[in-house]
């Protein structure tokens, strides 16, 4: 069951289409740069790349190792990428949700972007060697419950249809497992996970929504969250992070993918998304909305928990 291969044969044609489109928009001067993926030294691996010349468009690829959410490079926090002129960006359906969120939060303007959408059958999980074949066992957990194999509303999407088998859902099962525990058991579980945290802040740095110029957790006057990577400070950091993403995170799961300590961070984000859906019928990432669920209110909101 876990060895069941997932069909990624369309990725070669997708790569070709991305290259062609990038070459066209760069040479015709529609965009100043295209942010995409390029092959890297390790066999089968890929890394983000910024292409500014049409001649370099051939560097662009798409494969199951193209795991990054490139939306992070378009935020104000990343000053390294020139923001002058229109920028082209290669996006999977999950990455597009982040862009939609950023547009809603007035961080990006749609007219300043040229979106090259990718029909995606899934990408590899973080702990898997990049040259491994994509199977039901090696696919990233987020792809198991993907509802955006084909990105919508892009400027260009290669006309390919990904084959997407039904897979066992990961996060919903994990959330149910944790919810069935007693508070003490849940505390023990998260304590064990957060204890490993080294405060490398990779989760924050790759998150498209962590675009604050100075994070609350980098401030020391007043110090709201301890900076030391001790269990207490780690716990506080992850609670604050989850709370700040509630209602905004659309589940690209970059935080969890990059965590060098394997902390299931997206589980917290998915739990919050689930609660906000139940409470306020809100789902992030589907349409550009000016205000998220925690930036607005309804006079008739539930207040059964308030005496």
């Amino acid at each position: 069951m876990h060895d069941n291969p997932i069909d990624t044969s369309i990725y070669a044609a997708v790569t070709e289409a991305i290259q062609g489109e990038a070459r066209r928009i760069l040479s015709e001067g529609h965009v100043a740069a295209v942010v995409g993926y390029a092959a890297a030294r390790r066999k089968g691996s890929a890394q983000p790349v910024v292409v500014t010349r049409a001649d370099d468009a051939g560097k662009l690829i798409f494969s199951a190792a193209c795991v990054n959410n490139l939306a992070v490079y378009l935020t104000k926090a990343r000053k390294e990428i020139p923001k002058s002129g229109k920028i082209g960006i290669v996006v999977k359906g999950c990455d597009l949700k982040a862009l939609v969120g950023l547009m809603g939060e007035s961080q990006l303007k749609r007219e300043e972007l040229y979106l090259i959408g990718v029909p995606c059958a899934g990408v590899l999980a973080s702990t898997i060697q990049p040259d491994t074949a994509l199977t039901a066992g090696t696919i990233a957990p987020k792809c198991r419950e993907c509802d955006a194999h084909l990105p919508t509303g892009c400027d260009f999407v290669p006309a390919r249809q990904p084959v997407t088998p039904e897979l066992e859902k990961h996060y919903s099962a994990e959330i149910a497992r944790l919810e069935a525990m007693t508070p003490a058991e849940r505390w023990a579980y998260w304590k064990g996970q957060f204890k490993k945290c080294i405060k490398c802040y990779a989760c924050r740095q790759v998150c498209p929504f962590c675009f604050c110029e100075q994070c609350l957790c980098d401030r020391n006057k007043p110090q709201m969250v301890e900076t030391t990577p001790r269990p207490a400070g780690n716990f506080a950091w992850h609670i604050v992070r989850a709370m700040h993403l509630a209602g905004r995170c659309a589940g690209c799961a970059e935080c969890e993918r990059v965590c060098p300590m394997d902390i299931p961070l997206n589980l917290l984000n998915r739990k919050m998304a689930k609660e906000l859906k139940e409470l306020y019928d809100y789902e992030a990432g589907f349409e550009v909305r000016e205000k998220g669920p925690l930036a607005t209110y309804d006079e008739k909101d539930d207040q059964s928990f308030i005496k």
Binding site: A40, R41, N68, C200, T227, P260, M261
Partner: protein, 334 residues
């Protein structure tokens, strides 16, 4: 001294050390992740994978207290941490890349200022190294002049043998003392051949050439193209066996608190941020340049050594796939 120890006796040795009150630190699973940590018994040891964090944390913890303060009325009392309280430790199952970085760290921690916290832990720790029999394409110890069987930094070095057990060689007095105190668990070499060693696929860097290029290219457009993708987290530095920057923070209230020493990373924007608000390394390429410069130039200038042992952790766990082996190899061809 060359000897043989069976897998069973190695575990018996660890259990005996634990029973004697020695702290035995080895790779074990911690909430699903292989990490170094104190063992409660030998059964928990995991020797078939490289721990996620390097062995440096046994000497240079990711967070340690160095002082505490307390204010009562107008009187302030300070309590220093006395390194004499650090436990005697045996560090087991250290891969050559991790072990080789430890003597490199000795240089910086015993330079003009003697860091008693590091040095006392170092004095009290015996390192048992272990040769590697498998490598992935992120491994590059051979590229920086080490090898999967290099005993640098180990007091005692184990090499897995065909048919089980380990060839065991001592390299220091500490290693010999450990063997002599438990001599009956060791046997004379039985003539078995060693398991085939891992073969990292990276070609050897010409470190002299790399340094020569770095000497003259503090400003170079290459840095922008190398590091434009860097998102500025600390994963590379924190997983690295040789990175050793730290930050001193005071945490607590005005009444009482502690002064702590935490790992720091040159990838963070805050690393060189001045109180005035000015930041000499204002963009990520300047920060990433420092990482390469420090490893292959500055450390060499000061101590004549390279601050990289090729463990490949920064390659495997870089969120955006930055590959230091590819970068250095490219520099060496310039």
């Amino acid at each position: 001294m060359q000897l043989y120890i069976s897998e069973k006796n190695l575990k018996a040795l660890l259990d005996r050390l634990i029973a004697d009150g020695m702290r035995v630190v080895a790779p074990r699973m911690d909430a699903g992740t292989p990490l170094y940590g104190p063992l409660t018994d030998s059964a928990g040891i995991v020797l078939d994978q490289l721990p996620r964090r390097s062995a440096k944390e046994a000497f240079f913890p990711l967070c340690e207290d160095i002082m505490s303060y307390e204010k009562q009325g107008r009187k302030v009392s300070l309590t220093d941490i006395d390194p004499a309280g650090f436990p005697e430790t045996v560090l087991v199952g250290v891969r050559p890349c991790d072990a080789a970085a430890i003597p490199v760290l000795d240089a910086v921690f015993s330079w003009d200022y003697k860091d008693e916290f590091f040095l006392e832990r170092r004095r009290k720790t015996t390192i048992v190294g272990l040769a590697c029999t498998k490598a992935d394409d992120a491994c590059f110890c051979t590229a920086v002049g080490l090898s999967p069987a290099n005993p640098k930094g180990s007091d005692l070095f184990l090499t897995p043998l065909e048919g089980g057990g380990y060839a065991c060689e001592t390299f220091t007095e500490k290693g010999e003392a450990l063997v002599n105190a438990n001599r009956e668990l060791f046997a004379e070499p039985n003539g078995s051949t060693a398991l085939p060693l891992a073969e990292p696929q990276t070609e050897r860097f010409d470190l002299k050439k790399v340094k020569a290029w770095l000497d003259g290219h503090f400003e170079d457009p290459a840095w922008d193209s190398i590091a434009v993708r860097c998102v500025g987290c600390g994963a590379c530095a924190f997983l690295c066996p040789a990175c050793h920057c730290f930050d001193i923070v005071d945490e607590g209230t005005e009444k009482a608190g502690k002064r702590r020493k935490n790992w720091d990373a040159c990838g963070f924007w805050k690393f060189t941020h001045h109180a005035s608000g000015h930041n000499p390394r204002d963009l990520q390429p300047k920060r990433y340049r420092n990482r390469i410069m420090h490893k292959f130039k500055y450390y060499d200038d000061k101590f004549g050594q390279t601050l990289c042992s090729g463990c490949g952790r920064c390659i495997r766990f870089c969120p955006v796939g930055i590959d230091i082996a590819a970068i250095v190899s490219e520099i060496s061809k310039k």
